[in-house]
Subunit: 389 residues, 2 copies
């Protein structure tokens, strides 16, 4: 018992959350990404009553321009024991950042780690346009894969073809998330209702992605404070447990679509995320049926469908029907998804705002609250986390 | 006993090392940084008899252009469970990369992690010239801090002034390392003997740095395989223990010299690395007197002097005399340093080739072998590691 209690005490949790305002691209002009990153971290610290000067770890991902040393100087942190910029883009990096923070506090490498992401596409690179990736000019550009929609469309197109996914099924994802956004005052598209007709009439970005299948380009930042349960006892509010978190990539994922669509079925569809899912469910000691709500990385609606399968909520090719049958809607679905509106309708803070919403759900504070939510999955095929109340 | 044995079995070690050829800048034209990174990783795997396909973690640092997904595709790794690009530049990143790999294998997040760095200044950015750092144009350029020598010279200048460091004492660092390089067939400057007269006659780069105080710009790559002792038993050769490894930064370090030279004495001189040193010595259960050889991050000779003090080999301001008294030379010094020639004379692979040399020392395979070496310190003020035989 003592050992179990000690184990529980040293386990990682998310004690605080913080968000700046989220605006359409270019909406924030009076301060830069760095100032927003600091604002989000300070809000997350204040949320749990932590003195910001106690933060001794800073973890972001995907080449956040607000690198740890600038954050340290700007926040006036006296000592940094972990500064990390996790590789893996948004989807492969965001929940891996939580995993690194959790490992750090569990091993004693750091005590209070701020996981943050600041992303102003109005100030820097627009992800919907030309996109800088290392070796992109050599390996991606010759195939026309200049930006994420172009890189990822072939995977979605094959998935759609292989399983006969209907336009209306992809639309159901976008519509459900927009509906959630309508109740979330922080959502960029809170006042922009969407109908199936409007979805279908919208312009094609690159097949099969129509406009409303694609996440937003926007400005904003958010942050989490990760610490141990033992330390969180001295803070404000109720911490949310990190039951499991990790990173994983198998051929066909990380390549940004480079040839993935030509790979065997398992790989093109899930990037091997099925093994990541098995590993995390095993560590948390739960299965898909125990998940009350999931926040699935929705850079494009089709990847929500694929990840419903990857994370075991339905079988291969069944996600279209699963969504069509109303499982993902709030409040009546069996698995309400992206309850703040997701990347499609709340904001695209590269996955981390989905984690903030996951914490809100387990605190009972979502604007689309799932009743008695105890387990929340944060999922991309290349990084994921399971949070528990 | 069983628990202690298990603890020992799950502790991290370095099982394999690999290096490409090291050449002056521009010396490698027939293959790119990515190919070199792969070559180094494959050599490190072969060195310990590991099938490369077993590698499930890839960790580099300082925006290595050979990002994990490209490495995964190029090496044909079936599953990646950890891909990390550690923040912190060379000095703050290189031993932190070892720390991340060690944490990963100790926690079970991954089994065999390749830590690698490929750096061809003939193909990409020249560190000695204009230097891209995030927010550099806003915060560094107005003060003329366009590149590492310019960023770091003010710290060295103040240190030199405060403690009356002599030119001949800084020279003693450069001369000792060049002497070590003369015995190392891999060293870029193996055939370029240096004399005090030549050191003093060389042009000033930026006060107090003369040409031979500065590390090289060169091409090459190196890698380590990190795993647990338990797994290493099934591999070839004798693994070297990672007794402690970590990252740390306090105000005045990470900023690349931004205002650091105006900080209180402790900070400008060590970047707060003293606390990192205390932490790692404590974890390893040793003190400076137990260290048989150290490989100290020598981007500039003056920082070797400062870190001799930071890591407790002598008191504040005493390093000039320590070096002058012959302590760092091979074979007769009490603490032979950078025994392969270091960044100044072997190659500048951003700190990681110093780790390779540290492993060689503890295997008894250095070309400037320290007799019966059992403990090797790898040190920068912002990341460090202690290796044991």
């Amino acid at each position: 018992m003592a050992s179990s209690a000690r184990r529980r005490g040293s386990r990682a949790c998310i004690a605080g959350i913080g968000e700046t305002v989220y605006t359409p691209r270019g909406g924030i002009r009076d301060r830069g990404e760095l100032a927003l990153a600091c604002e989000a971290v300070l809000k997350a610290a204040a949320d749990c009553g932590l003195a910001a000067s106690s933060i001794d770890g800073l973890v972001s991902f995907a080449n956040d321009s607000s690198v740890p040393w600038l954050m340290q100087e700007s926040l006036g942190l006296p000592a940094l024991r972990l500064g990390s910029m996790v590789w893996g883009g948004g989807g492969g990096g965001c929940y891996a950042a939580i995993a690194q923070a959790a490992s750090a506090v569990e091993s004693g490498a750091a005590s209070y780690v701020a996981v943050y992401r600041s992303l102003c596409q109005g100030q820097g690179q627009r992800y919907g346009q030309g996109y800088d990736v290392p070796h992109g000019p050599a390996f991606l550009d010759p195939f026309g894969m200049f930006s994420p929609p172009l890189m990822l469309a072939p995977l979605a197109q094959r998935y759609k073809h292989d399983y006969g996914i209907l336009d209306s099924q992809a639309a159901a994802v976008a519509l459900a998330f927009r509906d959630n956004a309508s109740r979330n005052p922080r959502a960029v598209f809170r006042d922009r209702p969407l109908t199936l007709a409007r979805y279908l009439e919208a312009r094609m970005i690159t097949e099969p992605f129509r406009l409303y299948d694609c996440c937003q380009e926007n400005d904003g930042a958010c942050a989490l404070i990760v610490t141990t349960h033992e330390r969180a006892r001295d803070l404000k509010g109720r911490p949310v447990s990190v039951l499991a978190a990790g990173q994983g990539a198998e051929p066909g994922w990380g390549s940004g679509g480079l040839g993935s669509h030509n790979m065997p079925e398992e790989y093109y569809r899930s990037g091997g995320g099925r093994h990541l899912a098995e590993r995390l469910y095993g560590k948390a000691g739960i299965g898909p049926r125990d998940v009350d709500t999931a926040q699935i990385y929705d850079h494009f609606s089709y990847f929500v469908l694929m990840n419903l399968e990857t994370f075991g909520f339905c079988g291969p090719g069944e996600a279209g029907r699963f969504v069509q049958d109303g499982h993902i809607g709030w409040p009546d679905g069996s698995l309400p998804l992206n309850t703040a509106g997701g990347h499609l309708s709340e904001a695209y803070i590269h996955g981390l705002n989905l984690a903030v919403e996951g914490v809100r759900q387990l605190r009972g504070e979502s604007t689309s609250q799932v009743k008695d939510a105890e387990i929340c999955l944060l999922a991309n095929s290349a990084s994921a986390a399971i949070l528990g109340r």
